[in-house]
């Protein structure tokens, strides 16, 4: 089987389109909403989830024939928890300010449904390499929504992107005011609702 055969490419690209983990399957919304008030933590969180999904998929896929079926959930939780602990320590060591902003949500990657969903649905039945691609695809699909929502919220709520001011001072002089609502939790929900609306409207048309 070629490294990038059609099947493998589909494992990677499907989660980015129709089988999108957040928009299509409604998984892993908890953290997607909470970390998106600014762009930087959203990007870090997206990367962390991508790495953890990819590697936990690989590990479970390697172990899949040796795990007794009855205790598979516990084994999956332990693998994920160990990976999350490693990532959390790395974040604390290299990007401390972002890890403070993310606070408990790094730990909550353990209970992120995307991880458990992919392990159950894909890694338990497939070989390590397609599982890796599937994990990366799902992680990137998740990161994509985080980046979209994070960028909109930071731009409208603070007039900046990644901490750099985008809207010039002249606009503020003319009376432009940042929309403080955007930094509140409530707007994250409404924005994700709108993203889902656009996504579904687009794919309904294709069908």
């Amino acid at each position: 089987m070629a490294l990038f055969s059609k099947q493998n490419r589909e494992a990677f690209t499907n989660p980015l389109n129709l089988d999108h983990p957040i928009l299509g399957q409604v998984l892993g919304i908890c953290s997607a909403l909470a970390v998106t008030s600014q762009l930087k933590p959203a990007i870090v969180m997206g990367l962390a989830v991508t790495v953890i999904t990819a590697f936990s998929n690989v590990i479970i896929s390697i172990l899949r024939n040796t795990i007794p079926n009855r205790i598979r959930i516990v084994v999956q939780l332990v693998v994920v928890a160990a990976l999350v602990t490693i990532v959390s320590q790395i974040l604390k060591a290299y990007v401390y300010d972002v890890s403070v902003q993310l606070s408990v949500y790094v730990g909550l990657i353990i209970t992120n449904c995307i991880l458990m969903g992919r392990l159950e649905a894909f890694a338990m039945q497939n070989k390590p390499w397609p599982s890796f691609l599937d994990g990366v695809g799902n992680g990137l699909g998740y990161a994509m929504i985080l980046v979209i929502v994070g960028a909109v919220r930071e731009f409208l709520g603070r007039g900046s992107l990644l901490g750099f001011q985008i809207i010039p001072d002249a606009c503020y002089d003319w009376g432009y005011i940042n929309n403080g609502m955007m930094t509140m939790p409530a707007m994250a929900l409404i924005l994700v609702g709108i993203v889902i609306w656009v996504h579904r409207a687009y794919f309904y048309k294709e069908k």
Binding site: C30, L33, P185, I194
Partner: protein
């Protein structure tokens, strides 16, 4: 006493798991189709929260904290694995107890019980509790004893139940509404939850 009452009401209305922190969103959206199932899941979550938060509090302060087991060794980096272990074990225990002593309740809760193990609200409450131990004791959010932890867990559970039951009721009514096709189901639910969260923001100065 005052501190505990304040902690209780704040954990229901101000630090609501759903509206302020988005925890337990997945099962919140998946199970809230009717009031009856929402109430069942809400009660199960409340029960598990009331048990796991104090247990994890004792673990954190007696085993994992700085210099608890061995002088000068801080084991709190192990907290993720231990907390999830406690939660998974507790859910299993609750499931077995309910199955043995009240088969009717077990049948009513059905698949929701095992689902609770991966509900982020449970894990989230334990992680927030871990942060709040370090707070100044005069702060209304601080958790200084195992009773505080239990009240915090119970209050968070009640807040979660309140949120899921009200969404269940709204979704029951919404079936008769005329919603644009691509927005139906998930999209409109998100927007409704957003509006509910906005309404809950008016509690945000609450202090007793």
């Amino acid at each position: 006493m005052e501190h505990i009452i304040s902690l209780f009401f704040r954990s229901i209305f101000v630090d609501n798991m759903i509206f302020a922190f988005f925890l337990g969103m997945c099962s919140y959206l998946a199970v809230s189709k009717t009031v009856k199932t929402s109430l069942g899941l809400g009660l199960a979550v409340t029960f598990v929260l009331t048990v796991t938060v104090p247990v994890n509090y004792l673990l954190q302060t007696k085993v994992l904290g700085d210099g608890c087991l061995v002088e000068g060794v801080d084991l709190s980096y192990l907290s993720f694995i231990l907390f999830i272990g406690v939660i998974a074990g507790m859910v299993q225990l609750v499931e077995m107890t309910v199955e043995k002593y009240s088969p009717s309740l077990y049948a009513a809760l059905g698949i929701f019980l095992p689902l609770i193990a991966v509900n982020c609200a449970i894990m989230g409450a334990s992680l927030f509790m871990q942060q709040r131990i370090l707070m100044d004791p005069t702060n209304t959010q601080a958790i200084t004893s195992v009773w505080d932890a239990m009240v915090y867990g119970f209050g968070s559970g009640i807040g979660w139940t309140l949120a899921i039951v009200s969404l269940g009721a709204i979704r029951e009514k919404m079936q008769y509404g005329d919603v644009p096709k691509p927005l139906q189901g998930l999209g409109i639910t998100f927007i409704v939850v957003g509006l509910m969260a906005m309404a809950m923001m008016c509690f945000s100065g609450l202090n007793i």
